[in-house]
Subunit: 442 residues, 2 copies
Amino acid sequence: MSRELDETHDVSRQSWVASAKSHPVFPLQNLPFGVFSTGADDPRGGVAIGDEIFDLKRAIEAGLFAGPALEAAKAAAAPTLNGFMGLRKGLRAALRKRLFALLAEGEDSVEAHAFEATLLHRAASCTMHVPATIGSFTDFFAGIHHAYNGGVRNKRNPPLLPNYKYVPVAYHSRASSIHASGTPVRRPNGQRKRADESAPTFGPSRNLDFELELGVWIGPGNAPGEPIGISRAGEHVVGLCMLNDWSARDIQAWEYQPLGPFLSKNFGTTISPWIVTMEALAPFRRAQPPRPEGDPTPLPYLWDEADQESGAFDIGLEALIRTKTMREKGMPAHRLSASNVKHLYWTISQMVAHHTCGGCNLQPGDIFGSGTLSAPDRSGWGSFSELSEDGRTLVELASGETRTFLQDGDDLILRARAEREGYAAIGFGDCTGRIVPAVEIG
Amino acid sequence: MSRELDETHDVSRQSWVASAKSHPVFPLQNLPFGVFSTGADDPRGGVAIGDEIFDLKRAIEAGLFAGPALEAAKAAAAPTLNGFMGLRKGLRAALRKRLFALLAEGEDSVEAHAFEATLLHRAASCTMHVPATIGSFTDFFAGIHHAYNGGVRNKRNPPLLPNYKYVPVAYHSRASSIHASGTPVRRPNGQRKRADESAPTFGPSRNLDFELELGVWIGPGNAPGEPIGISRAGEHVVGLCMLNDWSARDIQAWEYQPLGPFLSKNFGTTISPWIVTMEALAPFRRAQPPRPEGDPTPLPYLWDEADQESGAFDIGLEALIRTKTMREKGMPAHRLSASNVKHLYWTISQMVAHHTCGGCNLQPGDIFGSGTLSAPDRSGWGSFSELSEDGRTLVELASGETRTFLQDGDDLILRARAEREGYAAIGFGDCTGRIVPAVEIG
């Protein structure tokens, strides 16, 4: 682990960008990549620093990069970051180091500072975009407490299916309907059938839910038929984001057998638009906790000592709701859930090794969802299906309102924050969507 | 239906391209679009005519197109046909009409004929490519006899799940691993567990299967949140191909609960590389057969009178196997299955309407699989899982060999052919893959 820590993690350094000083989300030590537009220009790549976005295209024009960092900066300045994600890890890291030097107080930053007015945009005035053309979206099921809770609700004994502790279970989801934070989410129409109904009806989902997930951006990838061994898997992971896998539970219950969820998930997925790099997250790595007594050892293709030692992450997660009433009353969002990435049963490298073990090819710009990352206890359950027990229990909000599932007008916000003594804390930025009413059936 | 028939379906017309005269697959009346390369040039769009490929780029350079046909020809000459698929139906049809005029014997063809040497390439000397950047691959389950057979083998009573006759069941599959006919298919490694084993092992799939499916190329598509009503669905279907959804049954059985097939399918999918257009297929439309007594009427969003009248197709399908022994002995391929597209329980327009009813956006270059298109009787079962009853029965081949599933070295070939009295028969071209041994586990 320590081999991944370098000067870009030095907590004593500060940025000359005033808003970045001890910024709770985007301090100097974060430097996530994204795609933004200002209204005046077409979308292009940038880097979050405090409340600003550092404009890579203009920085290149100002001559601030050379060598490997220039090559990577050109890719990261593009309207989609697929090319950047396809670069080998060393090139991506070289750009991070150069960005750190340019944005930190100190000798190297004098050049950048001189161009401050043209290089920085107020983030609040910009629009963020999905940062890549997403070739494929794979959603895992690696949050074991979410899987367990579902089994309990379905009265399975034992609650987890027999394959769960052997297979990093996943399914292919829909890439075209992934949207950046802030995009409204339209309640889907679909077929749903309650237990007391003899036939399904078509109409707006009655049980619209969120899922608190981590998103994983995939890097170079592999050729078809050439698996990525687990010890090399880390080279193919570029960074993380938050991912809300909106789910229509009533549609899901009726449609999902035997081939899995389809319309219940593919109407929309929201991601936080910044790619928080694995380099920025290096201080928050931790050992994968030992499996509970009695759990099987992972099969050899899923086992790597180094991955076990540092392949997990301590990153705090939150899901919050802000209803129309709360907005009107000026109330803050209500926290539904506080969880942590450490609750993943499988590491990200295990996901990559599993996904490719049969020869499936990953490509730069692919994205994984982790599966709903619930904590073991109710305070960290990451979906309404868990919090309301499929609608049987009312969830009380600070406004006095109650919910079993999402209502039209609700904002659902996901956040992530990594903290560790001796390091600058970093965040991911919001992953927010507001529910808008279903299309009227003509 | 008749409104879709025009001079391009006139069986009395012949092409001046000698090999196209009464060609069994690519006569003048077919004119499918694809992407080819000659070895000397980069991939680009072309049209199959007899044993030749008509080079659209050179035809444009020769000045053979004008107006709407020129606009469509430019899109169809590109290295990927996403732009062509995104054009409205009228533009695509205008190009077909102009191509028919250029390639038919008659006055209009004089121009093209003059450039014959530069416009035509021997197809046997060219390489065919996947004709689009496939954004998403959705696999349906609309072959009711395949679904029924699976239920019987799993001892379900009744064999079909309760949702089958209400929901055009589908799942998202993997776009990155779709390959053009002729690409070898590597046997996947994966986790598999037999009933008599206490834990899974990792290794080459023992039950590697094919699936006889129709592929559907999607056209303009819809904006997120804006469903395509069933009466407009046909505007978004560009053409058809054959699709072999290779399946590792042992991996599938162990992994698929609760989220559906994943590694058992995503190691590779083979398609026939020519897009046989809906315009070329117009003569082979037929009424969707009435549902059997007792089956529910489709919900209103899946019901359209015109679709019921002409939304089905009479297209013959075959699956053949040619083993290494057969090749060495010079024996022809052995037919495993003869089926027909008419066995689809849901029409293509119903698939489009269902896929988008919740707001999921389709994009040009998306592809659907129909699901395995088995006939009701054994002679038309479209997978080894059906033919060998999951390995319990030996399938005897003309060579004296037997199979339960595919062996390394086997070629599996899918073909389609549409015939109707008074019209030129057309084919789709081969959809072939040879099984090569699994990657050795290190």
